[in-house]
Symmetry: D2
Subunit: 177 residues, 4 copies
Amino acid sequence: MNILAISGSLRKDSFNTGLLRAAIEESPDGMDITIADISGIPVYNGDEETRDGVPAKILQLVDDIRAADGVLIATPEYNFSIPGGLKNVIDWISRVENQPFANKPVAIMGAAGGPLGTARVQYELRKVLGSQSANIVHKPEIFVGGASTKFNDGRLTDDICRDLIGKLLAALAAKIS
Amino acid sequence: MNILAISGSLRKDSFNTGLLRAAIEESPDGMDITIADISGIPVYNGDEETRDGVPAKILQLVDDIRAADGVLIATPEYNFSIPGGLKNVIDWISRVENQPFANKPVAIMGAAGGPLGTARVQYELRKVLGSQSANIVHKPEIFVGGASTKFNDGRLTDDICRDLIGKLLAALAAKIS
Amino acid sequence: MNILAISGSLRKDSFNTGLLRAAIEESPDGMDITIADISGIPVYNGDEETRDGVPAKILQLVDDIRAADGVLIATPEYNFSIPGGLKNVIDWISRVENQPFANKPVAIMGAAGGPLGTARVQYELRKVLGSQSANIVHKPEIFVGGASTKFNDGRLTDDICRDLIGKLLAALAAKIS
Amino acid sequence: MNILAISGSLRKDSFNTGLLRAAIEESPDGMDITIADISGIPVYNGDEETRDGVPAKILQLVDDIRAADGVLIATPEYNFSIPGGLKNVIDWISRVENQPFANKPVAIMGAAGGPLGTARVQYELRKVLGSQSANIVHKPEIFVGGASTKFNDGRLTDDICRDLIGKLLAALAAKIS
C-alpha cells in the first residue's frame, strides 16, 4: 500500500511535516508513505496556465497522487482556514482532466501551537477536497494542540498522538482495501 | 473616501477584476477606488520569512490597506473556497504587527460562470477576514452567476448587478463615515 | 433498494418535500423511496432525555434509517444554514448507541426561492452528517433556485432538475451496491 | 447597559448556562445581564406560522433583544454545529419584520467536555447571525474545553476563563457605547 503524504507547511521544522514523519514510523505493515515536495510552485494564474500549461511539478504531483493508493495530509491553520500555499497546490491539481483526487482515499490531520490544534481548518479542507470527490476518512480526527510541547528535536513524542496517527492510518488502509 | 480594491483572480480578463472596474464607475461621489496589484507574490514559507522578512510588495499592500478608508474584494471561487493566491496574500498580510485589516471596513462580492456566483467562497472569506477583526459589510450580498453573459468586452453590462454594486459601495461608505 | 427520504421542511406545500416526490417518480428500477415523518419531535433537552429517554418517534426513525440502504435529504436553507428542526432531528438521532448514519450512503439536495437554491446549507449538512461518519454522495449537486417557477401544483416541472435528481439517485445507488 | 443572555443548552446543569452565570459575576460596572428563557418553543413549521403566527414566547424574546443594548450567547456544539434548538429559536426570530439582530452587538462563547471547546460551532453561528446583520464581537474568542474540570457545583472556577469572559464583556461594551 502506497501513500502520498502532503504537508501544508513549507517550513523545514514544521510540526505538520513532523506529523508525517511520525506517520511513517507508525504506519502499519505493508504501507509505504512518501512525503511529496510542494515547494516552488507558482501562484495560479489562468493566463499563465493558458500560455505555459500546468507546471511540471504539479503534473508530477498529479501522477504521484494517481499512482498512490491513498493520500495523507497534515496541515497547519492560517487565519482560521487552509494555508494559501496548500490551497494553491489543490487549485492547480484541480485543473487537469480526470481529477486525481476523485474517489481517492484521503486522511487529514493537523498540528498547531494553540489549544485547538487546527480544528477550524480541517472541515474547510474536507469541503474543498469534496469538490473533487475525494473519499475522505472521517475518524479518528487528529488535532494536535500545544504542538511545541509534543515534539522533541522534530520528533513527535506524545504517545496519545502517535497512537491516534496509527489509528488514522488503519482507517485509511480500510478505505483502500 | 479612499478604497483599496483587491481581485482574487490574476487573469487579465478576469470577471472579478471587471466587477472592480464596474465599482469604479458606480462609486458614489467622493469615493476613489484603486485596484491593488497582487501579482508576483511568493507562496508563504516561514523559513523565507525568517531569513528575508515580509516581501516588499506585501509591505506596500499593508501600507495601502492602512491608508485606505475601506477595502473592496471581488473574488472567484476555486474548488468551493478561497483561491490559493488570494488566501496567500491574506496570510502574508497577517504576519505584520498591528494587522491592517483590524476594524477596517471591508466589502465582498464575486462573479463566476456557474449559477451560484461564488456563494460558497464568500462566507469562508468572511471567516478568514474575521480572524483579523475586519469590519465586514453584511448586505447586500453580490453573487454574479452566469458571468459570461453579463460582461461585454470586459465591461459589466448587467444593470441589476451594477445597481447592487452601487448599493454595496453605499453600505461600505456608511461603515466608514 | 430501500431509501428513506427526509425533508427539512414541515410545510405541507414545501418545495423540498416536492423534490422528494419527484425523486420517487425519477427513481431507478428496484429503488423504493419512503418519505419519513419528522413532525412533532420536541426540541432536544438533555434533562428530558435523562428522564424519559429518546422519543419513540426518533427511535422509529433510527430503526428506519438502519433498515434503509440509503438516505435522501431535501432541505431548505434557513438563515444561511440547516433548519433548526432538521438539525434537532439529527441531534436526537446522534444520541443512540451505534449511530445509524455511520457508513450509511446519503444524498443531499435542496430547493429555495432565491437564486442560490440552498448552496449555503448543503456543505454544513455534509459537515454535520460527517460527524456521524455518513457516506455522502458528492456529485451531482442539486441546487434548485427560483423554486416557485419550477413547480406546478406541487409537482416539479423543470426537466433539468428532474434529470439531475435521477442522476443523484443513480450515484446513491452506486454507493449502495 | 442591558445585555440579554441566551444559552444554547436547555439542561439545568448546562456548562454553557454556567458560563452565563459567570458572565453576570464578571460583568463590568453598569452592565446588567439577564438570562433569557428559550424552553418550550415549538419546532418551526411554516404552516403553523401562517395559521397561528409567531409564538408569544418568541415575540417576547424579540422584544427583549430589541430592548437590550447587546446579546451574549453561550452555546454547546452538537454534531459539529449549532444545537437544533438554538438554531430553531434564531429561525423563529428571523421571521419578524425588522429583524432584531440587525446591527445588534453580539458576543459568543462556548463550553464543551472535549478539548476543542466548541471551536467548530462558533463560526457557523457567526455566519447565521451575520445573515441577520448582527454586529458580532470578533475577539477574544472563548473556547472552554474540558469543561467538566472547570466547574464546581455549577460555578466556573477556572480563573483564565473568568478573566477572558470579563474581556469579552468589555469588548461587547465597546461595541455598544
